[in-house]
Every structure is written in C-alpha cells, then in structure tokens.
C-alpha cells in the first residue's frame, strides 16, 4: 500500500497556515499536510507521528522557531527542516543553518518563486525514495564519487552527516582534496568513506584548490576496502586490542597532547584515560561543564556545542562531546590555540574509532 509522506507546518499566524496548506496541496506527490500554531503543539505532533518535512516560522510567541529547531535537531535528526519566515536578517539565516536546517526561505520569496519552492519541498519528499541516499549513504556516495571521476567533472561534493560536514574537491575528474573532521587529504577521504549516513550536494568547482591527494580514487577505495576486510576478518581479540592501543598512543604522540580522558555518558561506566592519574576531579568538572554549556546553548539558541576550552598557566584543556562520550584532552600551554580544536578532533576520532 502506498503511504503518503507528511508535512508539518508551524506558524503562529493561522491565516498563513491555511494559505500555506492550500498552497502545498499543489505538490505532485500529494503529501498529507498538518498544521500547528505553537512550538509545543508541533513537538507533540512530531512525537506522535512520523513526518518527513517540518516547515517552521521563526517569530512566534513563547517558543520561537530557533528553539523548536534546536529541539527537533536533537530528537528527530532525520526530519527535513525548512524555515519560512518574514525576518529578513542574515543573522537568523546563519543561525538557522547552524542548527542544521535544510532550507531557509523568506515568505515574500516563497510567494514570488512559488514553483521553485514547491520543487524544493517535493525534492525533500522524493529524495529518500528516489535514490535511497539518506538511508544508504555508503553505497550511493561511492557511486557519486565514481561518477564524478568518470565524467571528468570539476565540482565540490559537500557531505553532511549529522553535525559533521565534509567536502571533496574534484578537478577534471580527479580527486584533488578532501576535508572532514579536522583532517585533510587522504585521511579525510578515508573518514568520509566510513560515515554510515548523510546527505550530499554538489557545489560549484573550486579550480584553485591546492592538490593534496595524489592517489587515484580507485586506489584509495581499494585501501579502504582492505581496511574493512581487516575488520571483517580480524586477528585474535588480544592482537586487535594491542593494535588499537598502539594506534591511539601514536595519535596522542603525533599531536603532542599531554593527556586524554574519555568519559562515557553513563556514570556507572569508568572513564578511560591516558597520561593522567586519578580522573575523578577532572571527570566531575567535565560533566558539569558540558551540562552547563548544553544548557546555555539551549537557552540562547546558539546552535550545537563545538567544544568547551579552559586554560591556566600550566595547561590548556579542550572538552569535546563526541558520539555520546565526552573527551577531555590536555595540551601544553604553548600549544597553538588556533589548531587545538582540529587536533583534538583528530585525537578523539582515533581514540573513538
């Protein structure tokens, strides 16, 4: 039986809701369209039913659109979100994109370019069924990369997976560079291939991008497959554990960190650490600092937390939430602040993988 996708429109202006509902009824796939006049009502509806797209106003009483979006982002990560507002301010556009919205439209633009707006919404409804990319990222991403190379294309592929964003640069069908999770070049490309889900979009070419990848796409993919094969046919558990430890310690040594603590979300599980003894105090502070930062971020609608940094004369600390864990990495005071975030991301990735 064919099931229709559902769209939820959130706006405090009930006349606009009716107009919008009638307008979206023109969508070719004839989705079910529901409306909500408050953020609380919208969240309750999202909890009760599965929606494909949320179209959200920003300026609303009590709970504004950014607050709704920050909650939606966390609770319904696969929901496509569109901001439709009358607020013509770049700051709000930036903040909305920072919260991970898929599209930002001004109400007057939507009325002037109605067909384009409908096409965009229709593409959100159809994308999952059309190419399965969102649910099966790995297979389709490889296909896309191969196609870019075979077609001798010059473009930039932007890949988004949850809060992570990566880019792959192509020039005349050759892989030129990649950037992901603080890494560049081949390392970044390998990381992207490991991502389990995400979306991608093709951006205009950047021919001036410096080349950092010299291997062919096929060679990199073959290496990646060999690595996967190694995981599928591993050695003994002890060997694997030993190898993992060596890789983790090598990453710490290469980056020059003083210590690292990995704190699980559950308090009953003991933190893992290297380079520091007695992590109780540090763990207590990290849990408090992260909780505080998340609370502040939510109060201010400031977007996802990147990191918490702290410093004194003896060292610098960088706290990074990642995959349900909290990492605290200690750096010497002379470490260059500008690079610490990227270095910490690299380290935590090695420690967490």
């Amino acid at each position: 039986m064919e099931t229709k996708h559902k769209i939820l429109i959130l706006d405090d202006d009930t006349d606009w809701l009716d107009t919008c509902r009638d307008f979206l009824a023109q969508l070719p796939s004839q989705p079910e369209i529901r409306i909500a006049a408050s953020g609380v009502r919208a969240l309750a509806m999202l909890d009760a039913q599965k929606f494909r797209v949320l179209i959200c106003d920003l300026k609303m009483p009590r709970m504004d659109g950014l607050q709704v979006l920050s909650i939606v982002r966390r609770r319904f990560p696969s929901l496509r979100t569109v901001v439709l507002t009358g607020l013509q301010d770049d700051q709000f556009r930036s903040r909305a994109y920072a919260l991970g919205v898929d599209l930002f439209w001004l109400k007057p633009d939507m009325q002037e370019n109605s067909q384009m707006f409908l096409d965009c919404i229709e593409s959100f409804l159809g994308r999952e069924d059309a190419d399965g990319f969102r649910d099966n990222h790995a297979r389709n991403l490889l296909d896309v990369i191969r196609m870019e190379c075979l077609a001798d294309n010059s473009s930039v592929l932007k890949i988004t997976s949850s809060r992570l964003v990566a880019k792959i640069w192509f020039h005349h069908g050759e892989l030129v560079d990649a950037a992901a999770e603080g890494a560049d070049g081949e390392a970044a490309f390998r990381r992207i291939l490991k991502w389990k889900s995400g979306t991608f979009e093709s951006l205009p070419a950047e021919p001036e991008r410096a080349r950092t990848i010299t291997k062919s796409v096929d060679a990199l993919m073959a290496e990646s497959e060999q690595r996967i094969d190694k995981y599928v046919n591993p050695g003994s558990p002890e060997e694997l554990e030993q190898q993992k430890l060596v890789e983790q310690l090598a990453a710490i040594a290469v980056e020059g960190a003083e210590f690292l603590v990995s704190i699980p979300a559950k308090k009953e599980i003991a933190p893992k650490s290297w380079g520091v003894k007695g992590t109780e105090n540090l763990t207590a502070w990290a849990r408090h600092a992260e909780k505080t930062a998340l609370r502040l971020g939510e109060i201010l609608s400031a977007g996802p937390l990147n990191y918490v940094a702290g410093s004194n004369l003896e060292r610098q600390l960088l706290l990074l939430p990642q995959n349900g864990k909290t990492f605290v990495v200690g750096w010497p005071p002379e470490a260059v602040g500008e690079k610490l975030f990227e270095q910490t991301k690299k380290l935590t990735f090695a420690w967490d993988s």
Partner: protein
C-alpha cells in the same frame, strides 16, 4: 486593566544573539555591560551564573582555570576569571562565512 493582560499572548519575537561584554562579581551580579539593552537582563544573569559555576567547579576539582570558552555553532562565550568574578565576552559567529568545514577555532 492589568487583569486583561493575563489573557493577552506575549509578543512574538526572536532573540538576537547577544554581542558585547560584561563583568560580574563573585555573586553573579552584573557590574557593567556593553551588551545591547534589548537583550534580557535575566538571560545575562543566566550566562553569568553558568560561567561562574564552570570556574567554581574547576576550583573544586583542584584545577583552577584562568579562562574558559564555550564555542557553539552560532556564538562564542569567552570568560576570564577575575578573583571569583569574571569578565565575559559574547561574540556571535556567522557560520556561512566559515571558510573551512573544519569548523571554528578556539
């Protein structure tokens, strides 16, 4: 007439991200601020309390910090400890202007 106000809904609005700096004493009282007057004072107090608590917890953990920075996608909150109080800087960011996908820098 105040009675009627109970039934009126609050004005719809979206808060701008705060920009500027302010100082707080050890009790969380805002001493001076360059943050726009339209930014709610209650939120300023909330920020102050949360930041002071991060410094306080660090002292409790026997690793006192001189500076703390909370980096969000849209805003950076930086603070310097001032004998129990703090000076706090609020700097909104423009993620669209970020040149690299690697993200912001501390």
């Amino acid at each position: 007439m105040g009675f009627l106000n109970w039934f009126s809904s609050p004005d719809p609005r979206v808060h701008n991200l705060p920009s500027g700096s302010f100082t707080v004493d050890r009790h969380g009282k805002v001493m001076s601020a360059t943050v726009g007057a339209d930014f709610p004072a209650s939120l300023l107090h909330d920020i102050a309390w949360e930041i002071l608590s991060v410094f306080k917890e660090a002292r409790t953990a026997q690793m006192p910090l001189a500076e703390v920075s909370l980096d969000f996608a849209g805003l950076q909150v930086s603070a310097r400890d001032m004998q129990g109080g703090a000076i706090i800087f609020l700097s909104p960011k423009n993620p669209l202007a970020t040149p690299s996908p690697a993200g912001a820098k501390p």
